[in-house]
Amino acid sequence: MAVWIQEDAKVLVQGITGKQGMFHADKMVEYGTKIVGGCTPGKGGQTVDLQGNSFPVWNSMFEAIEESDADATVIYVPPPFAAEAIMEAADAFDSVKGEGVIVCITEGIPTLDMVKAVAFVDNRPGVRLIGPNCPGIITPGEQGGAKIGIMPGHIHAKGRIGIVSKSGTLTYEAVAQTMSINEGQSTCIGIGGDPVNGTGFIECLAAFEADPQTEAIVMIGEIGGNAEQEAAAWAAENVTKPIVGFVAGATAPPGKRMGHAGAIISGGKGTAEEKFAAFEAAGIACAKDPSELGAVLLESLKEAGLR
């Protein structure tokens, strides 16, 4: 078991004929992800060559899911069309299978488009959206696994640590830290750095808590909003597995957007200090430096009798 995406999940790629889509689809196949084809409106019937194999392209997500029985889709569609790609996938998964996971990698989607798209997805309870503006989700396997996104596959290994993060490269840093203490990952989820996104911290924590493969959790937040504080409060009541945390942006000046659209301290709220305090109050072991995540995790595993 892992979270939401199993090792052998069948995956579609929206925007598979574009430069980004094709590049990453190829990397996913190389990793071992079971890509079943892709969707680009107007290019149905064509094929795409990935790692020496040929994959079908469909015109619509309805067709694509009906014919491939995909479990998930990953979106590499440019910002002006990405929200609609999410809604098309949600509608198709809901109508054809009643369920499905949508992973949206695209950065730069207008916030109000996401307000609409998230409401659309929320009306279809079997459908889950991860992202946008995220590295994706990966469930490493014994051999290969399911890498759905842009993360470097080779730094991961199958194991028992669940990772959830708002940031891309900082997630890789967390993965490397687990590897430095000889721990692999159950599933790593990048929820994205946008102010309005799909799956949040709490849903990830709940899924890790319920997942028998996951035995400890690493949670990486950043400045802006109060999702970390709410997640910490929820975890204090509901999570029994050890959690290790880090929050990026302690040195960020107020009112400035730090790269991610959501990473801004407004009106003195959403600071790293506030979030670290919420983590500590909830019994989450904090690293003040991401290079210490491994050591802090090891300590937590020992305390829990897991090492």
Partner: protein
């Protein structure tokens, strides 16, 4: 992206929100002509800068820093007063609670006719991250600092969350209006104003619209007396007119250039320049520099797929800051390969004849090739294996605490 009050009011007006008559001007002569044209005995002379707290701000001479006048928003009762205020404001430095000590030079004025105010309210529309919808906030405590109201009398702030599928509904407008104590024609006027503002928010891809104060006039009309409007930059592709609304003098020149090359840069006050891939890791790098006793000079995210040229531009932007005494490069190669970054770093240090110490931490894809390339160069580059080591080294090299 922020716009000026006068631009925000033009937008409100074109969407059907009542505003007072006003004229934007950039010279004293134009201000006097505006006063004559408006034909109003009393006018407001308002400094236009992208920061709040203008009314309680202070104007200084930009070079001598001599005190010129208290208040960046003045009520003028005569043509002479308009002249005095315009002279004191234009070209001078306005320091408010939001500008920081450096303040902002005022190049734009807004001359606005007066009105008879019965009550001042607060109204704002913004995107609620938690509820993932547009939130409308209103309060009877207009004209005050809303954060102060939120802290001390939260019961005086009323909120309505708009479902994007149904839009703003009649009962929501009524409930909010009645919570403000409005009735009769004022309540109807408020409802109309709210509908116009919501459609403006959605159609113009606003990030925030804040009206403080929104007033009820003696004739029970609802009028927007101030306008703080900002747009969601992600939506720029569908708003060609934003280019005309952008005031480049309000933005950091170097931040604009960074954006044009696909880099995300924010200048800070420290002396250790940072070059990182990914926003989260870039923030974490700054944090760790500080943790080990240094001060970061900037936030800089080169993005997921930077090439040699972008790395070079990133270096030159960092080095433009005279405070920079050392640079820490922190790359976790995912899609980006460490060997490409290593070549970019070498090309940049050679082209820019780098003199400050440089610490490079590489991890991830092709890390061994990357490290080998750096080691083989005869440049003075200090390698580091992890972020903590990188931060400690650069802090030590510039002679800070380690």
């Amino acid at each position: 992206m922020n716009i000026h009050e006068y631009q925000g009011k033009a937008l409100l007006k074109s969407n059907g929100v009542p505003v007072l008559e006003g004229v934007h001007c950039t010279s004293i002569e134009a201000a006097l002509k505006a006063y004559d044209d408006l034909g109003s005995k009393v006018v407001a002379v308002k400094s236009q800068i992208h920061a709040g707290g203008r009314g309680k701000g202070t104007l200084y001479h930009p070079e001598t820093r001599d005190h010129v006048m208290d208040g960046g928003v003045k009520i003028a009762f005569s043509r002479e007063e308009v002249e005095t205020y315009a002279t004191n404001i234009l070209g001078n430095l306005l320091v408010t609670i939001q500008t920081g000590d450096e303040g902002k030079i005022v190049n734009n004025l807004y001359i606005e006719s007066g009105c008879d105010i019965a009550h001042e309210y607060y109204l704002a529309l913004l995107v609620d991250r938690e509820k993932k919808s547009v939130l409308i906030m209103a309060s009877t405590e207009g004209g005050m600092d809303i954060e102060h109201v939120a802290e001390h009398t939260p019961e005086k702030i009323h909120k309505v969350s708009v479902d994007p599928n149904s839009g703003l509904l009649g009962y929501q407008k009524r409930d909010l209006g009645m919570a403000l104590g409005l009735s009769g024609s004022a309540l109807r006027s408020f409802g109309k104003c709210l509908s116009s503002m919501y459609s403006m928010f959605v159609n113009s891809d606003c990030a925030m619209v804040e009206i403080n104060p929104l007033v009820r006039t003696a004739d029970d009309e609802i009028v927007a007396l101030d306008a703080k409007v900002s747009f969601d930059e992600n939506a720029e592709f569908r708003h060609k007119n934003w280019d005309d609304l952008r005031d480049l003098s309000e933005e950091e020149d170097v931040e604009i250039r960074a954006k044009e090359t696909g880099l995300s840069y924010v200048k800070l006050d420290g002396n250790i320049g940072c070059l990182v891939n990914g926003a989260g890791l870039a923030m974490a790098t700054m944090d760790v520099i500080k943790l080990y006793g240094g001060e970061p000079a900037n936030f800089l995210d080169v993005g997921g797929g930077a090439n040699e040229e972008q790395v070079k531009t990133a270096f030159s932007i960092i080095l433009e800051d005279p405070n920079v005494k050392g640079i820490l490069v922190n790359i976790f190669g995912g899609i980006m390969r460490c060997d490409i970054i290593a070549r970019g770093v070498i090309a940049a240090t050679e082209a820019l004849s780098l003199e400050v110490p440089l610490v490079v931490r590489l991890a991830g894809t092709n890390v061994d090739e990357g490290k080998a390339i750096l080691a083989a160069s005869d440049l003075n580059i200090h390698p580091a294996d992890d972020l903590a080591e990188g931060a400690q080294r650069i802090v030590a090299l510039i002679g800070g605490v380690a």
